[in-house]
């Protein structure tokens, strides 16, 4: 239960008077308030600095060191105070947690010292408030990475049991792992460079012989260039195939951007091989050669910055889109205006609005080639307005893209977002566990309470003390409140397992038409009743009936109910409510039901109890068990 809320427990209990006139059953007795002492101040001496607080404040969190009896170990008889030899600065935050219910992480503290203090005082870090949680997690991640980097440097040897395929993949991804990988890395880099330079030089006019006009080198030394091209393409092909072989998930690899670039880089060559030297298609063939320039993108494997640039452009797609859109709007507006302004002048280059587009673009980007200039006065005025506005329109989205790039660049230097998500899930899981603790605590104490009644009935007293779990006064009062609610509504709280089981029983009982008195025919019927004890989560098909039971001993055909993972309870941190719509997700239809019919011995003459829908009176069930309280009636 949260901190300050404990102060409201008296109010909630008082408000329970509102249920009393409605209830039909008598209410349970209130828990005795043994040694109810007046609230007193206690002194906590932490390395010389004295903190004082009410005892009640500390009692709010009974599962921490200060809230439980563990602090008695630190009690100093002479000075009548609790002495802790710890850091007083961090202790301030910890004590504030008891006071306000929120744990804050001070930014100036070292993360590992803070963690240690939390661990000492028994507080889980997951309850750090939202205001400080991001900071805490960031620092923790940085710290972990620092440790990991140190570890990685010392870890040179290859892991012994990696397959050849994994080794190869690792070599491809991190060239620094082995010399072979490094060699491969540089060789491919060299050949990419060679291939690109070849493509460029191919078109340079070299060496004019007197009887021919200037021909590009490519046509002069066809064979040489062809050999060079072939060699590069072969190396690229081999590299691609090797990567494809080594990839852990081939489908994912083939979909990745880098592999598409690889394919596009080498495809034109093969297409060129296949196609004949036909005049009609040679035009298309020339176009294909353009794609060879994509080989330069293969460099992005070798350069981190290039990858980041690509990623930035991808993530700034909206800003780029906006830039494009606004530019287009401005271009159309100004082109139209310029066209109509220049329509009057003779020999005007502004022959149509699309022709004016070129002028507008050149002017707005402040290029100003000068191949088209306005001649009329109106045209010149509008032209100047055009160039002024061009500067503005382009200057606006650019800083956004720049800041995006810088952010992504810095982000890339830290851990992946994937790791953060995993941590978030783990954090929520831990908080869920501590929250369900509160509701299961009630059920546990109910069980213990009923158990005590059972033991009272059977008259044994020693076991009582052993089995009565020590619950704090707060908890017992809270449980009394919940007990009153149960009595008012005449229904009991059960945990999810049993609820589903009951649902299932109800569903199946209406589904199969079985008579209440089970088979006098010795035949096997596919009915179900699975009985589970509250403690075990896995069903025991042949759970032995506790001795001394007077109930019928039908042994079961067991239905193994498999269901998918438990749906998460509410994810809000501040409320302990399980929202009803989430509860409804525990639908009674399980995902799989396999029936295994074990045996049905002939039942004794007693008919089983009804459908189990009648209100149970706990006393009857208790006589049936000594260790286990069954809640679902057969």
């Amino acid at each position: 239960m949260a901190a300050g809320v404990a102060a409201w427990l008296p109010f909630a209990r008082a408000a329970a008077i509102g249920w009393m006139p409605v209830a039909n059953l008598p209410m349970p007795a209130a828990p005795p308030e043994k040694n109810k002492r007046q609230d007193e101040l206690i002194v906590l001496n932490v390395s010389g600095r004295r903190f004082q607080t009410w005892r009640n404040t500390l009692d709010r969190y009974p599962d921490t060191l200060l809230g439980s009896s563990e602090k008695e170990f630190f009690y100093d008889e002479e000075t009548k105070e609790y002495f802790f030899d710890r850091d007083p600065d961090v202790f301030r935050s910890i004590l504030n947690f008891y006071r306000t219910g929120k744990l804050h992480y001070p930014r100036y503290e070292c993360i590992s010292s803070y963690d240690e203090e939390l661990a000492f005082f028994g507080i889980i870090p997951e309850i750090i408030g939202d205001c400080c949680y991001e900071e805490y997690k960031d620092r923790k991640r940085e710290n972990a990475e620092r440790l990991m980097d140190d570890q990685e440097d010392s870890k040179d040897s290859k892991l012994p049991n990696m397959t050849f395929r994994e080794t190869m993949w690792r070599a491809f991804e991190n060239p620094h792992t082995s010399t072979m990988a490094l060699v491969f890395y540089y060789v491919t880099g060299f050949f990419i460079a060679v291939s690109v330079i070849t493509n460029v030089v191919e078109t340079v006019p070299c060496g004019s012989s007197p009887n021919q006009k200037d021909v590009p080198c490519g046509e002069r030394y066809t064979v040489a260039f062809f050999c060079m091209d072939t060699a590069c393409v072969m190396i690229f092909t081999v590299e691609y195939l090797m990567r494809l072989f080594a990839a852990p998930s081939r489908y994912r690899f083939m979909r990745s951007v880098m592999s598409i670039i690889d394919v596009v880089a080498i495809l034109p060559y093969y297409i060129g091989l296949v196609m004949t030297n036909n005049e009609d298609v040679s035009g298309a063939f020339v176009t294909l050669r353009v794609f060879r320039v994509f080989r330069i993108f293969k460099f992005s494997r070798h350069s981190q910055g290039l990858r980041i640039l690509g990623y930035t452009l991808k993530s700034c797609a909206s800003e780029l889109g906006f830039l494009l859109f606004s530019l287009t709007m401005a271009i159309i507006i100004f082109a139209t205006v310029m066209f109509y302004a220049e329509k009057g002048s003779t020999s005007s280059k502004f022959t149509s609005i699309p022709a004016s587009f070129w002028y507008t673009i050149v002017t707005m980007t402040t290029l100003g080639y000068g191949d088209m200039v306005p001649k009329t006065i109106a045209g010149k005025i509008f032209g100047s307005i055009c160039s002024l506005s061009g500067v503005l329109v382009i200057a606006l989205p650019v800083p956004v893209i720049v800041s995006n790039f810088s952010r992504i660049y810095h982000q890339n230097q830290r851990a992946d977002k994937r790791r953060a998500q995993k941590v978030q899930k783990a954090r929520l899981a831990r908080m869920r566990i501590s929250k369900t603790g509160s509701s299961t605590a009630f059920l546990h104490s109910k069980r213990n309470g009923l158990l005590n009644e059972a033991l009272d009935l059977t008259g044994s007293t020693e076991d009582e003390f052993r089995q009565r779990k020590a619950t704090s006064l707060l908890e017992s009062q809270h449980h009394h409140l919940l007990h009153c609610l149960e009595k008012t509504t005449n229904h009991e709280f059960v945990n999810e397992h049993l609820y589903e089981q009951n649902c299932l029983e109800g569903a199946l009982q209406s589904y199969t038409s079985r008579s209440p008195s089970l088979s006098s025919s010795g035949g096997l019927t596919g009915t179900c009743c699975s009985r589970r004890s509250r403690q075990k989560s896995a069903p025991l098909p042949n759970a032995a009936m506790p001795p001394g039971s007077s109930r019928s001993l039908q042994e079961l055909s067991a239905i193994h109910i498999h269901r998918s993972d438990r749906p998460p309870l509410s994810t809000s941190r501040s409320s302990l409510n399980m929202m009803p719509d989430e509860a409804m997700r525990l639908n009674c239809k399980s995902s799989q039901i396999t029936t295994a019919i074990i045996s049905i011995p002939t039942p004794p003459g007693t008919t089983p109890d009804g459908d189990g829908h009648g209100p149970p009176s706990p006393s009857i069930q208790i006589t049936a068990s000594s260790n286990v309280v069954k809640v679902s009636a057969l």
Partner: protein, 230 residues
């Protein structure tokens, strides 16, 4: 869509042109400080300070120490001194993790907020508690009647009772034994009305309610249950 920026005061064309000229900036500063003062007044209205300890001692049946403990707890959870309905629902829901306590908390809030101003101050809180914990049986039953009578017209109708009953059953949540069915609250209401409505006119008045409760042993006993909560 495109949202025009809001301007508090409607300005004419002249004012807009004046904005373009740098030297006219000074005029706007005064307007801004005006609105700041108003904001501050609004903020301070939300903070509430209760009456003095002596007055509360006189008005309620708690002694000084108890009032101190109560106030400390109250102020801890609501530093501003008043509880609004959402906070109230949050706090009350924390005690019932398995169900949805917000509807019942709403009715409870209305029962505590005696002056119906949308927030429960410490005085309201402590008055209510005084009745519940230290009041006579008559007063407690009165309070309960007030809780059930949602529209405060002096009669409890079946619909009002059904709402209250559903709210109570909502607090149980889904995972109950036996499984909660649709008609359970309605049946409970019918039993209740059978017991309470003596003249069978479909509504329960305060006198019928108090009479009937005083004749019921269970209810009398359970009313005494929370005597020593504080």
């Amino acid at each position: 869509g495109f949202i025009y920026p809001e301007s508090g005061n409607k300005r004419g064309l002249k004012a807009r042109l004046r904005k373009l000229i740098p030297c006219s900036v000074g005029r706007r500063a005064s307007a801004r400080s005006q609105s700041n003062v108003e904001d501050e007044l609004e903020l301070s209205a939300v903070r509430h300070r209760p009456e003095g300890l002596e007055q509360l001692e006189a008005q309620t049946r708690f002694n000084r120490k108890e009032l101190q403990v109560l106030y400390r707890g109250f102020k801890n959870e609501c530093p501003s001194g008043v509880v609004n309905e959402d906070t109230f629902k949050d706090i009350y829901s924390q005690f019932f993790p398995q169900g949805d306590a917000s509807t019942y908390a709403h009715f409870l809030f209305n029962a505590f907020d005696t002056d119906h101003n949308g927030s429960v101050s410490f005085e309201d809180f402590v008055m209510g508690l005084s009745i519940l914990l230290r009041g006579s049986i008559q007063e407690k039953l009165n309070w309960a009647f007030n809780l059930y009578d949602i529209n405060k017209d002096g009669y409890i109708t079946k619909e009002e009772m059904l709402d209250i009953m559903k709210a109570i059953y909502d607090m149980m949540g889904k995972c109950t034994y036996p499984v909660l069915r649709e008609e359970t609250p309605r049946q409970h209401v019918d039993i209740f009305f059978q017991k309470m409505d003596k003249n069978k006119d479909g509504v329960i008045t305060i006198d019928e309610f108090i009479d009937c409760c005083q004749n019921d042993e269970n209810i009398m006993r359970s009313m005494q249950l929370f005597e020593n909560v504080i």
